[in-house]
């Protein structure tokens, strides 16, 4: 068994430098690597390109990095919940590349799967297709999209083991598995770190081969963005 564990978040982030491209898992605030984001804020690394479906909210998630102006460019599909983001974008301080969500997911997956580019119909005939190769397959137009490259991928799982195997919980899975595949160095933080052999191999979502560093996370806030409930009748 190859042991992937590191002692803490500080060790997990060794090698992160200014100007790097980072992937960060999560959908909204669900399944985001809270510990790694906090440490990126502490490290103060700048000019980052961040690939993440959303940009957090003003005071949580990637919003914390935005507030400290550590992000140069954001690659996302939806950024509607962050006023600071909108301010930086409209003032031109922040470069933003908005891309369709399925294309974002597939560009991560492709990066980890050794597929340099692929055709998708998403965005054909829109701004997203500008400057891209197009091609007709079976009478339908598609655009060529390229795999991402990322220096680090930060993912968050529910359970993990010392071999780097990961299991996600609920919709906190989202982009985490394909980002784990894509990072040159993938850092996984987990709510519960177990010994190799303690997870059922049949239930593992992300095999340890994709994970270079794993650590026991702590103090998860797991903030809910839209608390919606129904009344008991």
């Amino acid at each position: 068994m190859i042991n992937k564990t590191v002692n803490n978040v500080q060790e997990a982030l060794i090698g992160v430098k200014d100007g790097m491209t980072l992937m960060l898992g999560g959908f909204g605030l669900c399944g985001i690597p809270e510990n790694s984001i906090s440490e990126l804020v502490k490290l103060g690394v700048k000019n980052l390109t961040c690939i993440s479906n959303n940009a957090g909210v003003d005071d949580f998630g990637l919003g914390l990095l935005l507030k400290k102006k550590q992000i140069k460019k954001m690659i996302s599909s939806y950024v509607g919940e962050n006023d600071e983001f909108e301010r930086q974008m409209l003032s031109g301080e922040l470069e933003v590349d908005l891309i369709p969500q399925g294309t974002l997911a597939e560009r991560c997956r492709a990066a980890g799967a050794g597929i340099p580019a692929f055709y998708t119909p998403a965005g054909y005939g829109t701004e997203v297709a500008e400057g891209k190769e197009t091609r007709d397959f079976n009478g339908k137009m598609h655009i060529l999209e390229h795999a991402f490259e990322a220096d680090f991928a930060f993912v968050k799982a529910w359970k993990g083991d010392t071999a780097g195997n990961l299991i996600f919980k609920g919709t906190a899975r989202n982009f985490n598995p394909m980002m784990a595949m894509a990072g040159k160095i993938t850092v996984a933080e987990v709510e519960e770190l177990l010994e190799a052999g303690e997870l059922n191999p049949n239930e593992i979502h992300t095999p340890g081969i994709f994970v270079q560093r794993i650590f026991q996370g702590k103090d998860y806030e797991k903030r809910i963005e839209q608390r919606t409930v129904r009344q008991k009748s």
Partner: protein, 218 residues
Amino acid sequence: MALDKIGIAKRIAQELQDGWYVNLGIGIPTLVANYIPKGINVEFQSENGILGMGPFPYEGEEDADLINAGKQTVTLLEGASIFDSALSFAMIRGQHVQLTVLGAMEVAENGDIANWKIPGYMVKGMGGAMDLVSSAENIIVAMMHTNKKGESKILKRCTLPLTGVKCVKKVVTDLAVLEVTNDGFKLIERAPGVSVQQIKNATEGTLIIEGDIPEMVL
């Protein structure tokens, strides 16, 4: 009288067919889930990774690890499944989802839709909308017929940046049900108490009116 958002959702719910997997967008489309016709089984797909999405949880049972695409806390129904974002969009692009319902800022008579950006004013992003509209065979748009100034949102050509081209099949507004045809918007039904003339006045795109137009039955 023009329909409210619930009325639009109720009318769209009549389009559901037994055995369909359905993706509902944020806003009015989400309400459709509350009005599934009796005797019909459908499963809702949420693009952040759920099939078999249930209603909001009871107070105290919210789970931060279980949300819908609008980031709202939800529940799972029996037989539900959870998956990652790549698999979710494989279902969508692979046309395994039978119906997509989404909102729009503008729809054009050729089926073009715009719903993600107002240049210089509002840029929130397309989320999964471009993937959905580029692939779904059956797309219904839920929207108000006019904007707050009373200007038509049912147009000859969209003026805002497009989300997808020639993809919308049907539009349900507060005033009417319209089908997108090769010749323009075909008027299918009127909202209760709304006249054909009112709908004509509120529609900038080509409107095709054939025979008597029935009222919606909600």
